[in-house]
């Protein structure tokens, strides 16, 4: 277990850099994590991240890529454009959660 600082916020992260306490998340953290993978967050990224955060609360776990594309207006093609280095992990990670459990 380690800590990382993004701007003015310090959060606990696991060995892979995923937050261990989603309650510590804020937009500054998301922007800092996004910068690490060369992403500048746009409104379209926020559609995904806002959905992930809401769905993680509702379902008790973060959604996989397929669920995100089914329940938002972000298509499969677009989500790969938004998170080219891996939407499966980055959507959850940048929203302050761990990896989703599913395979789709």
């Amino acid at each position: 277990m380690a800590e990382k600082t993004y701007g003015g916020s310090t959060v606990s992260v696991d060995a892979d850099g995923f937050m261990t306490d989603s309650g510590q998340w804020n937009k500054e953290v998301a922007e800092g994590m996004a910068a690490e993978v060369e992403i500048t967050l746009t409104d379209r990224h926020w559609v995904v991240l806002d959905f992930v955060r809401q769905d993680a609360v509702d379902q008790g776990e973060p959604p996989g890529v397929r669920r995100i594309t089914k329940l938002t207006d972000v298509s499969m093609k677009e989500i790969y454009q938004l998170f080219p280095k891996g939407p499966g992990i980055l959507a959850s990670k940048l929203a302050g959660y761990g990896k989703p459990q599913g395979c789709v």
Binding site: D16, G17, E36, V37, R66, M76, G86, I89, C103, V104
Partner: protein, 162 residues
């Protein structure tokens, strides 16, 4: 090589999956692996050969059957597996289970792979053997290639033979 986490595992950022089977149960493993790779930001290509061509053949992709006959893992006595209607029954049971878990059907999974930027290739030799032409394949297939081309495209990749 770094993954989508920005972590360096020393793994290649590319996978090459060979799908050689056409039963419903054996179509999923290769496609799910390719999709998981893409979700992690790993480049992926799939090479469909022999019975795997059924997965990308327009007339076959929606009709793959669960392989029970001659399958030592099949949950029913061998003598029953080949009886009329058993294959259809086993297939529909398997499909219900898959749908119930909200796993996409094969056609949708291949479309997902394509939308996710996976390169999908058909094996030239197998196409010739089965008398197939490009027009018989689903539109998501990138190219019909031979085994040597496969090795060229798969350079540096982790290869999986399904």
């Amino acid at each position: 090589m770094t993954d989508g986490n920005g972590n360096d595992h020393g793994m290649p950022r590319k996978v090459a999956i060979i799908c050689s089977k056409g039963s419903l149960d054996m179509a999923y493993p290769g496609l799910i692996l390719a999709n998981a790779a893409r979700m992690m930001g790993i480049d992926a290509m799939v090479f469909f050969t022999f019975w795997g061509l059924d997965i990308i053949t327009e007339k076959k992709v929606d009709k793959l059957k669960a392989g029970m006959v001659g399958n030592p893992s099949a949950p029913l006595p061998h003598m029953l597996a080949g009886l009329p209607g058993m294959e259809t029954f086993a297939t529909s049971m398997m499909k219900k289970k898959i749908q119930g878990l909200d796993i996409p059907d094969i056609r949708e999974l291949v479309e997902t792979l394509d939308a996710a930027g996976t390169d999908l290739y058909a094996c030239k030799m197998a196409m010739d053997m089965f008398g197939l032409e490009r027009k018989d394949l689903i539109p998501e297939v990138k190219e019909v290639i031979g085994a040597m081309d496969f090795f060229q495209h798969a350079e540096g990749a982790q290869t999986f033979f399904i």
